[in-house]
């Protein structure tokens, strides 16, 4: 937050004045939070309205169609995998596996990222190779290692099913059933998978009882560059900077490691770098990291406390942390406050097979 933005907000001048009295520069004052429920300085952590592209404004018809498509295994080569196979509501819109299993259960190299709040990502996929949810939606279908479907056959299946024909016409009148409308419908559904009502959100909005004292302390440690240093990448409001970092996982030290972002942007700094994932609903999506190497949030903390395992080409924003066991426990408890209340998810009724 710039000083200009602070001036426009309702933070009192006394807060700024006290920041300067303690010798903080203007830039450091930007990071100065008042750790009181509902305080103005915390509001940047609340999720904004869900963004969407101009040509794909969501509506009920588009979302319902997208929901059917998302759960329909007939859009895979073997007719047994849907988007939800790897992005299941049963596992926080991931799959509960260290790394995904694709076509014929082949173990893939990276974990299934959650769909939760992916609507806010400026780039999709661990390496950011897709620019939007629409751009991403057909990728796994086409991949021979994943859903492995001939897209023209999938389109023909949809065109041959009267329920889908009707649903597409309602959702995208006159646009027909084609690659673009298939992707747009799936993206519209994915934009409804949102986490924005966690205990942390309620505390930011002013509910003093929403987070425990331990969790508030965990948040202080989270944003403190000298302690947890977490918010340097897991920044407001979605606990992600939409950026790419090599966090020094053990798998990076193996022979022929996954080069991550470097395959897309051949800049040295991007060797072994992956996108910062959101931490919202984090308790639902273990194991953690792009290689699924951390089973628990405590394991995650141990990794960061050590400043990473393999230091080659380590992100310059990583550093060894000095944390007590109690502080690490506080950080883990804080992360548990980032999960929104879960409700039973209602599955769609898929259109009947038309033989």
């Amino acid at each position: 937050m710039s000083i200009a933005r602070i001036a426009k907000s309702t933070i009192t001048t006394s807060v700024l004045a006290s920041a300067f009295m303690f010798g903080l520069t203007p830039a450091q004052a930007d990071e100065h939070y008042v750790f009181e429920a509902g305080h103005t300085s915390l509001q940047e952590w609340l999720m904004p309205e869900v963004p969407y592209p101009d040509n794909n404004q969501p509506n009920a018809e588009r979302v319902e169609l997208g929901k059917m498509l998302f759960f329909d295994p007939r859009l895979s080569g073997d007719g047994n995998m849907s988007c939800a196979t790897c992005h299941s509501p049963l596992f926080g819109w991931s799959d509960g596996l260290p790394t995904a299993k694709g076509f014929k259960s082949k173990v893939l190299g990276r974990a299934s990222p959650t769909v939760t709040n992916s609507a806010y990502n400026s780039l999709q996929m661990w390496d950011g190779r897709k620019k939007s949810l629409e751009d991403q939606a057909l990728g796994p279908m086409l991949s021979s290692a994943e859903m492995n479907v001939d897209l023209s056959m999938a389109i023909n299946f949809l065109k041959g099913n009267s329920t889908y024909v009707e649903a597409f016409e309602k959702a995208y009148p006159g646009q027909g059933i084609k690659d673009e409308t298939l992707a747009m419908a799936i993206a519209s559904f994915e934009r409804t998978v949102i986490s924005n009502n966690s205990p942390f959100d309620r505390w930011v909005k002013g509910d003093k009882t929403a987070m425990s004292k331990q969790q508030v302390n965990g948040f202080k440690l989270f944003v403190d560059p000298e302690k947890g240093n977490c918010a340097v990448c897991h920044s407001a409001p979605n606990f992600s900077d939409s950026g790419f970092h090599n966090i020094g996982l053990a798998s990076w030290g193996q022979e022929n490691p996954d080069m991550g972002r470097y395959a897309i942007k051949p800049i040295n700094l991007m060797k072994g770098a992956f996108k910062t994932p959101t931490l919202r609903d984090i308790t639902l999506t273990a194991p953690y990291f792009h290689d699924g190497s951390a089973m628990t949030l405590s394991d995650v903390m141990d990794h960061y406390e050590a400043g990473g395992s393999v230091k080659t080409n380590l992100s310059p924003n990583m550093k060894k942390l000095t944390l007590t066991q109690a502080e690490k426990a506080d950080l883990v408890e804080f992360m548990k406050a980032l999960t929104s209340p879960q409700k039973p998810f209602v599955l769609p009724i898929l259109p009947e097979n038309a033989f």
Partner: protein, 105 residues
Amino acid sequence: MTSKYIAAILSLVASASLMAETVEVGQTDKKFTQDTLDIKVGDTVKFTNNDAFFHNVFSLSDAEMFDLGSYPKGESRDVTFTTPGEVEVECAIHPEMKMTINVQE
């Protein structure tokens, strides 16, 4: 006679280098402080990190390819642009940070 030529050439070189400018572009709140910048061939752009974390600056444009590595708050890195054309400049760490530099003859 020869010394006159040398003096004239030195004078031209001096005036050319005097005309070349250095323009500062900041990296603030995960944005470049300018979306676009018009400069001339020979001008230098000084990229200064004003954020509390590391940034990178790179370009893969044909007109000027460079990678300034990563550097922390308060540090700057310079690039002198020698070829006319449009140069897309980005931060590899934070891909939302983008700007365009138009290098003119």
